[in-house]
């Protein structure tokens, strides 16, 4: 159970780093792939301007909500694994 929770901790951290970085550095994608810059307008702004502004604000908020839910659940799993470990080894809690 602990091994599973440990692997999940590593995976969750890597996945959320990637999502956060994508949200905060969306503009770099438009520079790396200049073809994306000609995709039109949104709310009167060029797409390569407004999309990074939106991902840098609301995109990050959404990632943070998922991160809070997933990481808080992971904390519960680690605590449950600790308790199960203590029970198996016959030790009491703190």
């Amino acid at each position: 159970m602990k091994e599973k929770a440990y692997k999940k901790e590593i995976l969750v951290t890597i996945v959320f780093i990637i999502f956060y970085m994508l949200m905060g550095h969306t503009a770099s994608l438009f520079v790396l792939f200049p073809g994306l810059q000609g995709l039109g307008e949104m709310w009167g702004f060029p797409i390569h301007y407004i999309i990074p502004v939106l991902t840098g604000w609301f995109g990050m908020v959404i990632v943070a909500i998922f991160a809070a839910i997933v990481c808080n659940k992971l904390d519960d799993e680690i605590e449950a694994a600790n308790r199960a470990d203590e029970a198996a080894s016959g030790k009491g809690g703190e």
Partner: protein, 541 residues
């Protein structure tokens, strides 16, 4: 339109009443905060009982300095949209701190990242990192002082040098009245003030400029875009190559990750779970404020293009727009917001210096010293740091953000690798940290254009802001740290069992397992990739 020689508030007493009233509120909240401070936990971490919403606002307030309030729009005047892209990524700071090490250190009940450095790497490394952090905090404070000076210059119609001295007096008054790090509610209130004074008055400016989107300044100025493109066709151009944008990651995303006063906001949360929800509120409020600054930068360019006036002091554009387009009392509220941003961050910077010197360094050098005496010495170092920043601010760079952004690169070169690898890799070695931090920190300073002008990596603004230098020294610092750790460990200087056990404990495990956070392959992959990036940074800019 003829440009005035200087932009100043003409209805001085209206402005003084509004700014003074606002400050009376800040002082009152600071004083109440001080009255409720009965323990060290209260002082440094608000008793570990701050809720997610208030803490999220306080996080945003701590982050949002005068660099945000005045400096962003100033550089958008020069760089236009690329600087918006540069600024956007700064919202990553607190989320990455929380995800990568904030919650782990919250488990330790650490007050600063140095608490962790001490437990993980021992005393010598802590002293080195704390010294770097103090230098960074002084450079950070320098930017705030320059911005405050320029704000008081407009308010009182005095010379910049006189305005600087007024700034110093206001900040000292604020700190004496109780504007401590623990006054979290004050910080949260200041964030509300900053956001409102940034966004609401811009609605007025946009309406006068003819935008139908005045009701939603941060996102509804799209109808001004065609006019802007007629006057400045290159406004939305990305302008720079991919390396310029990539360098934002080491220089600016990784630097603030180690900022002690930002990390402290994660540690002040009521619980780990609350800290993560505070990040959501932080991003929401900071996003609103950031987006407000982008519209100011846009409107500043629009103002210059339509009037033909060139703003001589770009850092004053936020205030100048209000003086030109809004009633004086509205401009006074914006001045109050700017002063709130500067004073609260400067207070945080100086308090961090006091904590680093009084708690982290003296706690090691003189552990037997009386706590009150240590506190007093901490405040002496704070005063010296403030004085140094004050002296440097008499000869300011063109943009106030220069010193702040440069400081982030220095922090990423010296402290970030030690913190991140220390939390995620058991083989991270204290001697390797000492060597890599010292070499790469010194190298970052030397190859910047601010010290030895003949030895500079890059040129122009990327060099001045530490982007080109950071692309060399920050990955090099990670790489050197990993390679030296492996070498020192093989030589018999491996981390002790106690030092390695810290990792399992702060990640929440109640037992120790050698194979956790002890990868063999990925450190080499990171080291090699970082070396390649560092070499990329050395290529001509």
């Amino acid at each position: 339109m003829q440009p005035p020689q200087v932009y100043v508030i003409t209805e001085l007493w209206t402005a003084i009443i509004i700014v003074g009233g606002m400050f009376a509120l800040f002082y009152l909240m600071g004083w109440i905060g001080l009255k409720q401070t009965t323990s060290t936990d209260d002082l440094y971490a608000a008793g570990f009982k701050v809720g997610a919403l208030v803490n999220g606002l306080a996080m945003a307030s701590t982050w949002a300095s005068l660099a945000t309030f005045l400096g962003v729009s100033a550089l958008i005047l020069k760089l236009q949209v690329p600087f918006v892209y540069l600024w956007l990524q700064w919202a990553l700071s607190i989320p990455l701190i929380t995800l990568l090490y904030g919650t782990s250190m919250r488990r330790m009940k650490a007050y600063t990242p140095c608490t962790f450095i001490k437990a993980r790497y021992g005393n010598p490394s802590t002293i080195v990192i704390a010294c770097w952090m103090i230098l960074v905090m002084v450079m950070y404070a320098l930017g705030q002082l320059i911005g405050l000076g320029q704000t008081f210059e407009i308010l009182f119609a005095v010379k910049y040098e006189t305005a600087l001295i007024i700034s110093g007096i206001v900040v000292i008054g604020y700190m004496v009245a109780g504007g401590m790090m623990g006054a979290t509610y004050n910080a949260a209130f200041q964030m509300v003030v900053m956001t409102l004074t940034m966004i609401v008055p811009m609605g007025w400016v946009m309406k006068v400029m003819g935008s139908s989107g005045w009701w939603m300044p941060p996102l509804a100025y799209g109808d001004m875009v065609p006019s802007m493109l007629k006057m400045i066709p290159t406004f939305f151009d990305t302008k720079y190559d991919f390396r310029w944008y990539f360098s934002l990651i080491p220089a600016f995303t990784l630097g603030p990750v180690a900022l002690p006063h930002l990390a402290a906001r994660v540690f002040t949360s009521a619980s780990l779970k609350s800290a993560r929800w505070a990040v959501v509120w932080f991003l929401f409020f900071l996003g609103a404020l950031f987006s407000g600054t982008y519209v100011v930068g846009f409107a500043g360019n629009f103002f210059q293009a339509t009037t033909g006036i060139v703003i001589k002091k770009p850092d004053q554009i936020t205030l100048i727009l209000q003086l030109v387009y809004s009633p004086q009392w509205v401009a006074a509220f914006v001045l109050a917001g700017a002063i709130a941003a500067g004073v609260s961050t400067l207070n945080g910077n100086l308090m961090a210096i006091a904590a680093l010197a009084g708690s982290d360094i003296l706690g090691i050098i003189a552990p037997q010293m009386d706590a009150k005496k240590r506190l007093r010495i901490g405040f002496v170092v704070l005063a010296i740091g403030g004085l140094v920043a004050m002296i440097l601010s008499f000869n300011p760079p063109t943009f106030l953000v220069t010193s702040i952004l440069w400081a982030f690169g220095l922090l990423a070169s010296t402290a970030t690798p030690g913190i991140l690898l220390g939390v995620w890799w058991k083989q991270a070695n204290k001697y390797a940290l000492l060597v890599s931090s010292t070499i790469c920190g010194a190298m970052f300073i030397i190859i910047s254009p601010h010290v030895i002008k003949s030895i500079v990596i890059g040129k122009g603004l990327p060099a001045a802001l530490g982007m080109s230098g950071g692309l060399v020294t920050i990955p090099l610092s990670f790489s050197l740290f990993i390679i030296l750790s492996i070498i020192f460990n093989k030589m018999g200087y491996a981390p002790s069992q106690e030092e390695k056990a810290v990792l399992d404990r702060i990640h929440g495990w109640n037992d120790y397992r050698e194979d956790r956070y002890n990868g063999k392959v990925w450190p080499w992959v990171v080291a090699v990739v970082c070396l390649v990036i560092s070499w990329w940074g050395l290529q001509p800019w």
